[in-house]
């Protein structure tokens, strides 16, 4: 069979893959986008960011209405129509994935549905529903992503043991739900199910929830979780799971002692694994690192000069926006432009209640690496806007290089922290100092003021709170 010739083939149509394919097409390249699933968008659109945020939004309204009674506006108890909620969530997905298909078409990106397999460094075999196709490319971009890990010990072949993918299907609201893993996925989905009425227990092997997040930023989330969840068990390992009638019998190990409990459903959120297998990578010169991710350089190029890898499959933070940026870096490198993944600021957001968002250097990292920094915190209890929202449980902080006053890191916890962090990213990318932030006028009354005020805290002159120590101005 005559192979199909193309400039660039992108394998996987998640955010990284479609961003790369669209950008390459916009730059005049002939692009084939290969996707195993019927719908474009990958995990993010179909079983990750988008459906989880749709459900979080719906449940957030419920929580807000409940608190409203205290503010003198009472609503009747919400009625949950699970089919309708699921239907709305699915319509959000459908709208976005169809949008992508349209965008691909308008750019002349050929979408090929099927599993891609590298025959050699220049040939991708695609198993489509109409038989095999061979694509002969100049450059390939691997963007096949990752999937939720389900350790063999938990894989009972029982749908009552779910990963995030199944949990987002929202088949039912279990009476009792165990969430294994208090990382951001476990905490987000635990929040959704708890609000919908499940009795939720979260268990975590490590001593903290949201590992990697500064403790002062995680604290408000912990405070919420303590109320919303029946229990949060830290330092606890799940030893075993077994089917027991219509329930799952779970054996925990707490301080060396075994403990058994039964749950209607279990949600396993213990990390994600790259989809590197069955790709035919062994037929190319691309290599994997010790954790099983595809090894790439700062131009996202693998050990095979014709093959690039981006997003989750290339390791690092498993975030859609990181994949999208890497997609652009790969395309720019292919086009011979200067582009590098070095020193790119990648923000992270946890959509819990309240949200946590940060970028750059965290306080804990600075401490661990022995970097001398100053931290300026502005508590939202001093923010007019936060108080009118009845959400003073937030904090905005900067990690600042004491010598140059440059902003090295930004951390926010509070409602809409995810929306606020963008300004922090821009500040960092622009090399802004705390002075730049303090002198930029922010609209009143908004939560964005907390960024300005946190910078003012650094100098000792915030308007809405008082700081004893004043900073000596730079010469």
């Amino acid at each position: 069979m005559e192979p199909i010739k193309t400039d660039i083939v992108v394998v996987g149509a998640g955010p990284g893959g479609y961003a790369a394919a669209f950008y390459a097409a916009d730059k005049g390249k002939k692009v084939i986008l290969v996707e195993r699933e019927k719908r474009l968008g990958g995990v993010c659109l179909n079983a990750g960011c988008i459906p989880s945020k749709a459900l979080l939004h719906a449940t957030h309204s419920m929580r807000d209405m409940e608190h409203s009674t205290e503010r003198g506006v009472a609503f009747s108890k919400p009625k949950i129509d699970l089919d309708k909620l699921r239907g709305w969530k699915n319509s959000v997905i459908a709208k976005l994935t169809q949008g992508l298909a349209g965008l691909a078409e308008r750019r002349g990106v050929e979408v090929m549905q099927g599993r891609g397999y590298f025959e050699d460094s220049r040939t991708l075999r695609v198993e489509t529903s109409k038989g095999q196709k061979f694509v002969n490319y100049d450059q390939a971009i691997i963007a096949v992503g990752s999937r939720a890990a389900l350790p063999a010990a938990f894989d009972l072949g029982n749908k009552r043991v779910m990963t995030s993918t199944e949990a987002l299907e929202l088949e039912e609201i279990p009476k009792n739900l165990l969430v294994v893993g208090a990382g951001y996925i476990g905490m987000e989905l635990g929040t959704v199910y708890a609000t919908l009425g499940s009795t939720v227990v979260v268990t975590e092997a490590l001593p903290n929830i949201l590992t990697g997040v500064d403790s002062d930023l995680a604290r408000p989330v912990m405070r919420y979780a303590e109320k919303a969840f029946k229990e949060i068990r830290l330092n606890t390992k799940v030893a075993k799971m077994a089917t027991s009638g219509k329930q799952i019998k779970v054996t925990f190990t707490v301080e060396g002692k075994a403990k058994e409990e039964s749950y209607d459903r279990v949600l396993v959120c213990v990390g994600r694994v790259p989809n590197c297998k069955d790709l035919g990578l062994e037929n190319t010169k691309a290599a994997l690192d010790e954790k099983g991710f595809v090894k790439v350089n700062a131009q996202m190029q693998t050990g095979d000069p014709a093959i690039y890898a981006i997003g989750d499959v290339a390791g690092g933070a498993l975030l859609a926006h990181k994949a999208m940026k890497e997609g652009r870096i790969a395309v720019e490198s292919i086009l011979g432009e200067y582009s590098t993944s070095e020193n790119v600021v990648i923000p992270a957001v946890v959509f819990t209640d309240p949200e946590v968002a940060w970028c750059g250097l965290t306080e804990a990292e600075a401490k661990q690496k022995g970097i001398a920094v100053q931290v300026a915190r502005f508590p939202w209890a001093a923010s007019g806007r936060a108080i009118t929202l009845d959400r003073p449980d937030g904090l905005t902080k900067f990690v600042i290089d004491a010598e140059s006053e440059r902003i090295l890191g930004v951390g926010i916890v509070g409602v809409n922290a995810g929306e606020l962090i963008g300004e922090g990213v821009l500040a960092m990318e622009m090399g802004a100092t705390a002075r730049d932030m303090a002198e930029s006028v922010h609209p009143h009354p908004t939560l964005s003021e907390t960024l300005m005020e946190a910078a003012e805290v650094f100098y000792g002159y915030p308007t809405d709170t008082f700081v004893q120590k004043k900073r000596t101005p730079l010469p």
Binding site: T340, L361, T433, D436
Partner: protein
């Protein structure tokens, strides 16, 4: 205290960190080697000026560093740091004195920073502050932003800062060590599109060494700025061969091995004395020719790392036997990369002898800022006409490349004629020890 990059050698302003031999927390003694710098053409050890404990290392292997830049920070010998205050009080002056003079030379720090010497430093390891758009342009031009001084708050680099940095680079002479950057810019700009050779078969990639890079830059610059002409000649060296047979064994007993090169060195000096234009340099800035009244001859040495040219000083003042011995030692040290930076500078003429490994006529490239170079091939028996008869005689191929801006063809013929004259009738008294 900080241990800074000391003055390296005349005209050498920067170096590459080759090896770091200490780690944070190490206790080191005064004069202990803390790291090695690869400079121009040699690897040089950097000893610590004082004893102390390594508290920080500011560089990593591969970093380019400039004179005066801090390399490591030492917390001075335990006593100073931990001694109770009263004890230290009576003699603060003495203490300061005992440490300061030993420290790396101050001048570099005191001297105003030229554009090329600035280096951005961040204790947090952050990149220089600049907007993504500015970083992208710098990347495209191959400009290292750590060298650009930012004018805005926190040292942020604006597009205007980048422009003035580029302008400053372009104003600097193409000659001399600190000017490596503009060539780098040009090279990056003209970097050919990467070709994927693995399409045609297995390949292996190795990074080029800094010696190789230096050779490349030097050769490229010489080839592109000097109009080269190469004059060929064959010389009958029967006379020299006989002298070597006659004096060689006796000198060998004294441990001095008489090779051909010293004879050529002496002949070259004789020719340089007669035609001083070959011992000159062209000062392109002033338009003057600088005649040198000394005879320091560079000798090209083939090393594992690549071509290195150490310089023999005052060749005119040394005996043939001493030259022979000195040359052997110099070549040996060069091959082991033990040659000092000063030994690589100040040549007034260069010879490149390929005879040891073979070779006929070739076209050597002038070792700028010199104006000529003599290439020597391997001598072999060839049919020559002597007194009307054909005889087999040892013939040495010579090739003289010269800078046609300074030297004309007629000069070259005369110069080679003098060389031939000296080598065919080599003055025997030069061999007397």
């Amino acid at each position: 205290m900080d241990v800074r990059v000391p003055r390296l050698a005349e005209g050498v302003e920067s170096a590459t960190v080759a090896n770091i031999l200490v780690a944070p927390g190490d206790r080191i003694e005064k004069d202990q080697v803390i790291l090695e710098l690869e400079t121009e053409k040699a690897v040089g050890p950097i000893p610590s000026p004082v004893s102390g404990e390594v508290s920080r290392i500011h560089v990593k292997p591969g970093d380019e560093v400039s004179v005066g830049q801090p390399l490591i920070t030492l917390s001075e010998s335990g006593a100073a740091a931990t001694a109770p205050a009263p004890e230290a009080k009576p003699q603060p002056a003495a203490q300061a004195k005992s440490v300061r003079p030993a420290a790396a030379p101050e001048p570099a720090r005191a001297a105003p920073q030229a554009a090329g010497e600035y280096r951005y430093q961040s204790a947090a390891g952050a990149p220089p502050p600049a907007a993504p758009s500015v970083r992208k342009i710098a990347g495209e031009l191959g400009i290292d932003l750590t060298r650009v001084k930012g004018s805005e708050r926190g040292g942020r680099i604006t597009i205007a800062d980048l422009r003035s940095y580029i302008a400053a680079l372009q104003q600097r002479p193409a000659d001399g060590a600190p000017a490596a950057a503009p060539t780098a810019v040009a090279e990056e700009k003209h970097a050919p599109q990467a070709i994927d050779f693995s399409r045609w078969g297995p390949v292996e990639k190795k990074p080029i060494t800094s010696v190789r890079r230096t050779i490349g830059q030097r050769m490229y610059e010489s080839w592109h700025t000097i109009p080269h002409v190469t004059q060929f000649e064959d010389i009958d060296i029967t006379n020299v061969t006989n002298l070597r047979k006659q004096y060689g064994p006796e000198l060998a007993k004294k441990g001095k091995h008489l090779t051909l090169t010293p004879f050529v060195l002496k002949a070259v000096v004789a020719a340089l004395k007669k035609y001083p234009i070959f011992n000159s340099s062209l000062d392109e800035a002033t338009g003057e020719v600088v005649y040198k009244n000394y005879f320091h001859i560079g000798v090209a040495v083939d090393t594992e790392a690549g071509l290195i040219v150490p310089v023999l000083r005052d060749v005119d003042k040394k005996t043939l036997a001493d030259l022979s011995q000195e040359l052997n030692a110099l070549v040996e040290r060069t091959r082991k990369r033990k040659v000092s930076l000063d030994e690589l500078q100040g040549g007034s003429f260069t010879i490149s002898n390929q005879g040891g490994i073979g070779g006929g006529h070739f076209t050597p490239i002038i070792n700028k800022p010199e104006v000529a170079i003599l290439g020597i091939g391997r001598s072999s028996l060839k049919a020559a006409v002597k007194d009307g008869k054909i005889e087999a005689r040892p013939i040495l191929p010579l090739a003289l490349s010269y800078d046609h801006r300074v030297v004309d063809g007629a000069d070259a013929v005369r110069f080679i004629g003098e060389l031939v004259g000296v080598l065919e009738n080599f003055p025997e008294d030069l061999l007397k020890d």
